[in-house]
């Protein structure tokens, strides 16, 4: 009997996940349709709203992203010095910092911070609008909520995350430089030389490709959780939490997938 019950639970869980997947796919298709097809038919995009969202998601997150990435750069430099110092190879701190910043840490840190700042904000905003019947009101007025709310945010996120990531990469390398030169005592010219020598185009592409998918994940999870909200302020709180958790989980999964891909490429 217990086996049956466990099987039942697993089955129901799988069905629920599939249903959720289907709903997310519908949302994706609809977003794409309103973003790509509708403008071609002269139905317009809400560019102004997209720009406002870009400023909110991207520009306003720069101070905190910059701060954190600088500190992470310092941390990577000091941690790697711990091992490299034994071999007298402190100049390779530059390589380690540069490669890990571009390929891994800058995209990841930017995405996680933007999730916390803006992924949660998207869920809270859409959730509150749903509770207040504002989404219904849009629909009754003949305004598609996906076109009106989702597409501008999606466009903004698609551009903002890679932009922030590039800046984060530079700041992280600068953090590493700062620590290596002023704390460990590496020659600044050697450090710059090592950095430029170790970086290849592929590192940058790797980081940027990841960051684009991070942006997609953050936006869609935010919107999807927002639309799931039911039952007032408590519902908004719950879904906002779960939006951040789901987003970060997805970011790590996407990170892994692309790391494996680029490892073999």
């Amino acid at each position: 009997m217990t086996h049956l019950r466990v099987a039942g639970h697993v089955g129901r869980w799988t069905l629920n996940q599939l249903a959720a997947g289907a709903r997310v796919s519908v949302l994706m298709v609809e977003t794409m349709a309103w973003m790509v097809v509708a403008p071609m038919r002269g139905k317009g995009l809400r560019i102004k709203s997209a720009v406002e969202s870009f400023v909110e998601f991207g520009v306003r997150s720069l101070p905190i992203v910059g701060m954190i990435c600088f500190l992470v750069g310092v941390i990577i430099a000091l941690q790697s010095s711990h091992t490299l110092d034994k071999w007298g190879a402190n100049r390779f701190i530059a390589t380690l910092v540069a490669v890990s910043a571009l390929r891994e840490m800058a995209p990841l840190m930017s995405a996680v911070i933007i999730t916390g700042r803006s992924g949660s904000a998207i869920t809270a905003e859409i959730g509150t609008m749903k509770v207040g019947e504002e989404i219904d009101a849009l629909e009754v007025m003949g305004l598609n909520p996906v076109k009106y709310l989702v597409v501008p945010k999606f466009l903004a996120m698609l551009v903002a995350v890679p932009c922030v990531t590039v800046i984060a990469m530079f700041i992280m390398i600068f953090g590493g430089f700062f620590a290596a030169v002023f704390i460990v005592g590496v020659d600044p010219f050697v450090y710059i030389d090592e950095t430029t020598r170790s970086l290849v185009e592929k590192d940058l592409v790797n980081g940027l490709v990841k960051s684009i998918f991070f942006g997609i994940a953050i936006c869609w999870v935010g919107v999807y959780r927002g639309l799931q909200v039911e039952g007032g302020a408590e519902g908004v709180g719950k879904k906002t939490t779960s939006s951040v958790v789901t987003s970060i989980f997805l970011i790590i999964v996407i990170d892994l997938v692309f790391t494996v891909l680029f490892y073999f490429l």
């Binding site: 509150t128 609008m129 207040g132 019947e133 504002e134 219904d136 009101a137 849009l138 629909e139 009754v140 007025m141 003949g142 305004l143 009106y148």
Partner: protein, 266 residues
């Protein structure tokens, strides 16, 4: 005053379900052009669900909703958007977009659906706000308004596209009697000035007396009576009699059941 008019909204055998639960069953009625049609019922009678189905927010399981002869439930998205330009809806909580000023809220459908000049939209917005008695409040945010003012703003927004139909969800809920009476007057004024067809969902007998041309009484997802208020007052149906007499559910049986549930005693 309702005779000899064409039915403009026809609901035929409507069934609405939430999951396995049937919320509306076999609803049929007709709304005539230019009348104020009130859907009256207690909490949980399904009247709000009925309204949501009428404006297309809830897809019915079966049945038809004909608006000007066209089946609203079986339309393409394009047709539906066209029809919706002709429909205004006032939500219970007004549902104004909180991030936009009053003027922007009212202007939103105009900006999205028409190619009017911004200056024209400005003037139209002012006229609509003036109409509901909110002239001079253009730059206020919804959060800066009282409940009654929000309701009025909701009506102004519903009127933005000069619709033929207007739907009100509990227009006087949560308002004090004076403000509620003001909203009732406004509903009546909109109907008489613009020859609007209005459908009002409410449970307030006081406003029904003021606004209704005809009333549709609902109980537990079914229609139990349709007619003028006078017709319904003469009805023998026990629920209608009880509702009109404002009498609580019987009595000791339910009370003792409640006490048993509380104490667990037999």
């Amino acid at each position: 005053m309702t005779e000899h008019r064409e039915p403009i909204i026809v609901v035929e055998d409507l069934v609405v379900r939430y999951g396995d639960r049937t919320v509306l069953e076999g609803i049929s009625f007709e709304v005539q052009q230019g009348e104020v049609f009130v859907i009256l019922g207690g909490s949980g009678s399904g009247k709000t669900t009925l309204l949501r189905a009428l404006v297309g927010l809830k897809q019915p399981a079966s049945g038809r909703i004909l608006i000007r002869g066209e089946d609203f439930t079986a339309m393409s998205d394009e047709q539906r958007i066209e029809l919706r330009k002709n429909i205004g809806m006032c939500f219970q909580g007004s549902a104004l977009l909180k991030s936009l000023s009053l003027a922007d809220n009212v202007a939103l459908p105009l900006r999205e659906h028409t190619k009017l000049e911004e200056s024209t939209i400005d003037i139209m917005t002012k006229i609509k706000l003036e109409l509901v008695g909110l002239g001079g409040f253009e730059d206020y945010l919804p959060s800066e308004l009282s409940g009654g003012m929000k309701k009025r703003a909701g009506i102004a927004r519903a009127m933005a596209m000069d619709p033929e139909f207007i739907f009100y969800d509990e227009p006087s809920a949560g308002l004090d009697p004076i403000v509620a009476a003001g909203i009732d007057q406004l509903i009546r004024k909109m109907q008489s000035t613009f020859k609007l067809t209005s459908v009002v969902v409410t449970h307030e007998m006081e406003s029904v007396k003021l606004i209704a041309d005809r009333v549709c009484m609902m109980e537990r997802g079914r229609v139990v009576g349709i007619g003028t208020l006078d017709d319904l007052e003469l009805s023998e149906h026990p629920y209608i009699r009880q509702f009109f007499a404002r009498r609580a559910d019987d009595d000791e049986s339910s009370e003792s059941a409640y006490a048993k549930a509380l104490t667990g005693l037999q």
